[in-house]
């Protein structure tokens, strides 16, 4: 398989690929490379932080007759701390997991089945449900999501009772999770909300069906009438080809191109509608020729997480303080586990504003190179480099408690000629004036050149 295509594949279904790994794969055929991706993601590794402290409190509470507010506050306090841990653990996972495709799909689904919860137990469980079904059966996936404690809280299915229906989940199920706006009626929402009455959870976060709150009456939904359950409603939704199309469109825009291509999406829809198997759909996309066409390569703007994790993939960087990692996510506009609302992050150009673009351009040098971007002209020596870095370190060094492993980078790029660096670090061609400027500069070292390339707007593309 062509190196260029492997790089494209790994930028989209992962966060980039290192030269040594690339070399291994480039001897294989495309079919084998793609197959190996799915094989590596057959397994599923739960993402878990230690929550035993809260679980202990829970088991104490199960026996207690009353829940006192002090205990609840204590749980909240631990939960907040643990959420920061989970956030850092997730980013670490994205950087290092061998289950590359599964993890990238999980990230995709997290912005599809959008949810948040202040309980670490429920949100961790929800996150692992995304991971479990990321390449699985979409029908099972939707059902599992509908029964997650965090989701019944987030979209108020918990408050959805026969006597007093709450339509929030039913509405978003159709508008955001399966069909897209305009493909159902207000009446469909009202009727299907009845089918999800009684969905709830217990303290431990397990699904509980409250029979007495459930509406056993007839519901008329998409022209069918019966005493439908929540599962029945999801079955009827999935009968609509629009559901397959809606998901395919979203996958296309995330993995292939911001701009939809009708023919490709139609072809995907045919594949997906057959069995709603996500793995089969992704195989079809990644095996297709159009996925690797030039107009799909290097044309997407990285999400903040793709940018951050991509950087860490090339040059391993450990944050000593999880709060600093969280802070950088905040400034870049995407905090994992903390979506803006159930519609999720809009993505694409929406990631970019004056603040985020300035920070994105400066972040590689800030985190990896003491804020220094070499500007020394060709044929000259960078005399001030050490002094400048030292000064920055003295002034601001304490702000970023990071450990950067340039040794790892240098090993990985040992056999890469400096003229080939661009191909490894950038997904698209460098525009003419930047190219001319780069050529006028001295290539001081691989490290300094890497920082120069990462400081280009071109590095924001994938």
């Amino acid at each position: 398989m062509k190196a260029k295509h492997i790089q494209h594949l790994y930028r989209r279904i992962g966060f980039g690929i290192l030269p040594t790994e690339l070399e291994k794969l480039s001897k294989k055929r495309k079919k084998d490379v793609v197959n190996s991706l799915f094989k590596a993601s057959k397994s599923m590794t739960l993402l878990e932080v230690d929550t035993s402290e809260i679980k202990d409190i829970f088991s104490g509470m199960m026996n207690a007759s009353k829940r006192d507010s002090e205990t609840l506050r204590k749980i909240q306090k631990i939960s907040r701390k643990k959420q920061i841990e989970l956030n850092a653990a997730w980013i670490n996972r994205l950087t290092k997991s061998p289950e590359v495709l599964r993890e990238k799909m999980t990230l995709f689904w997290a912005n599809h089945f959008v949810c948040e919860d202040n309980s670490i137990i429920y949100i961790q469980q929800f996150n692992n449900t995304l991971r479990k079904y990321a390449l699985g059966d979409f029908r099972d996936f939707v059902n599992a999501v509908s029964k997650e404690a965090a989701m019944t809280k987030y979209l108020n299915t918990k408050q959805n009772r026969k006597q007093k229906p709450n339509e929030n989940f039913a509405r978003e199920l159709m508008e955001l999770f399966t069909l897209g706006v305009g493909h159902y009626s207000e009446e469909d929402i009202k009727e299907s909300a009845k089918a999800f009455t009684g969905y709830s959870h217990n303290l431990r976060g397990e699904f509980v069906f409250k029979q007495r709150a459930h509406d056993e009456g007839e519901k008329t939904f998409f022209g069918k009438t019966g005493n439908f359950s929540g599962e029945d409603i999801i079955d009827i939704i999935l009968e609509q080809k629009q559901c397959a199309k809606y998901i395919c469109e979203k996958i296309y825009r995330y993995f292939v191109n911001d701009v939809s291509d009708k023919n490709h999406i139609n072809a995907m829809t045919e594949v997906f509608y057959k069995d709603y198997n996500i793995e089969n759909l992704m195989r079809f996309v990644l095996q297709s020729n159009w996925f690797y066409e030039d107009n799909n390569v290097g044309t997407k703007i990285k999400s903040p997480i793709e940018f951050l994790v991509g950087m860490k993939t090339m040059v391993p960087t450990e944050f000593k303080e999880p709060k600093q990692l969280l802070y950088i996510q905040k400034l870049l506009g995407q905090i994992l586990l903390n979506p803006p609302n159930v519609a999720g992050w809009k993505g694409g150009r929406n990631w970019i504003d004056s603040n985020t673009i300035v920070l994105r351009l400066k972040l590689p040098s800030l985190l990896l190179n003491d804020a220094y971007i070499s500007k020394v002209k060709d044929g000259h020596e960078d005399a001030q480099i050490d002094a400048k870095k030292a000064m920055f370190n003295k002034k601001f060094g304490k702000r970023f408690k990071t450990e950067v492993n340039w040794k790892y980078f240098n090993n990985q790029f040992q056999n890469v000629g400096i003229n080939d660096f661009q191909n490894h670090l950038l997904a698209c061609d460098v525009n003419d004036s930047a190219k001319a400027y780069l050529q006028s500069l001295e290539k001081v070292s691989k490290q300094e050149y890497c920082i120069q390339l990462m400081s280009l707007p071109e590095y924001q593309m994938c």
Partner: protein
């Protein structure tokens, strides 16, 4: 101003991005001819307890529902025979006496949500409570009427959803110098050179270059314009005080910015509310008074309108921890020199006619306030920004 003319200007300005002096010329004309009205938004995050902010001190129900939380009659700053202010709000009383304050009671929206995130989201995006939007109301104002990122500034480190449009976003800065320093590495200038590539914005990479150039230019503009003015006023020495001080500096240096966004957090008073709220309202009121005085000293108060809101009010009945839980409708403060309705815009909410949760039933949709501000103050078409038509109110 004629909307079509404005639209034409803004689209022209953006296509001529690479001729900054031309844009600047446009802006100079616009500001000198039209006067320059500015909106300052103050967000009280966490859900400020409106009932202990503006207090119906003659209402027995207030004391009955809040035996340990009600503020004693003697401590309340009386505004009328029935209503007074939290003891921390003495500075606000002075603004009230001068006719600079309009209190709009009982503001909310249908089918209220009691989650902080969601309710704040609703206030910031100005949607119905069952609709989700990925753009904010000021963002959509920018989409239609903004010219540059600094047409709206959030005086903070990053942008709230309120300030994000579909096509144009505001800029966030609480330290103009730091932002400028971050953006001005000569490396960045050299990579885009002096290119004048008209089709840059057609593809994503072009959009990044365009955003980079716009950010550099806005950061430089904000820093160089605002550094000419330094405030002589004393502000409370805390984050919010500094935000207001920076905002005053921006306004008094005549930055071409229509909207400023600031916020003060910590109002989620489930436990031991009295001391916490007293402290926060004190910070708020002291900072706002200093701010108003600072603007008056520089003759900019007459063109500034200050809007204060919180994502919801709190429950009428106190809880078991001498605090209050999440509620619904709340009061909104409008501060300015040109108010049509000074003092109270409408009556206090009824404390006897509550909803099933024991919360206030709202009377005024917050979006009618936005519509009024857009229409009568910023002089734009509010229906385009809010995607819906609301009857404007008479406070300005």
């Amino acid at each position: 101003m004629d909307r079509r003319k404005f639209l034409k200007q803004s689209s022209l300005a953006s296509s001529l991005f690479f001729v900054p002096s031309f844009v600047r010329a446009f802006e100079d004309v616009a500001s000198s001819k039209l006067g320059y009205k500015r909106l300052v938004i103050i967000q009280l995050s966490g859900g400020n307890d409106g009932l202990n902010t503006v207090i119906p001190y003659r209402n027995d129900l207030y004391y009955k529902e809040r035996p340990r939380l009600a503020i004693a009659k003697n401590d309340i700053i009386k505004l009328t025979d029935d209503v007074g202010l939290n003891p921390s709000l003495e500075p606000l009383k002075r603004l009230y006496d001068k006719g600079y304050l309009s209190i709009i009671n009982n503001v909310g929206y249908p089918n209220p949500i009691r989650s902080h995130f969601r309710s704040m989201d609703i206030w910031q995006t100005a949607t119905d409570s069952d609709t989700y939007s990925q753009s904010g109301w000021i963002g959509r104002y920018l989409d239609n009427y903004g010219k540059t990122p600094h047409s709206a500034i959030e005086v903070d480190e990053s942008l709230s959803l309120a300030m994000k449009g579909e096509h144009l976003n505001a800029i966030a800065t609480q330290d103009a110098k730091a932002l400028y320093n971050l953006s001005k590495d000569p490396y960045f200038k050299n990579i885009h050179g002096h290119q004048n590539d008209a089709h840059l914005s057609e593809h994503n990479l072009g959009y990044l270059y365009k955003s980079m150039i716009a950010a550099e230019s806005s950061a430089k503009y904000i820093f160089e314009t605002s550094k000419t003015v330094s405030s002589k006023k004393e502000y409370p020495n805390n984050k919010f005080g500094n935000q207001m001080k920076t905002t005053a500096q921006f306004i008094n240096s005549h930055l071409e910015t229509k909207v400023f966004y600031t916020s003060l957090g910590g109002f989620d008073t489930h436990v031991n509310q009295l001391s916490r709220q007293k402290r926060l309202l004190g910070i708020y009121a002291d900072s706002v008074e200093a701010f108003v005085q600072d603007l008056k000293d520089n003759d900019t108060f007459k063109d500034t309108l200050i809007l204060t809101f919180s994502e919801f009010g709190r429950r009428v009945k106190q809880n078991a921890s001498v605090g209050t839980d999440h509620g619904t409708a709340n009061n909104v403060f409008v501060i300015g020199e040109n108010l049509k309705t000074q003092g109270f815009y409408n009556d206090m909410a009824s404390l006897s006619d509550l909803d099933d949760n024991g919360d206030l039933k709202f009377e005024i949709d917050f979006r009618t306030i936005y519509a009024t501000v857009l229409d009568k103050w910023l002089e734009v078409d509010d229906t385009i920004v809010l995607n819906k038509s609301f009857n404007p109110l008479g406070f300005i």
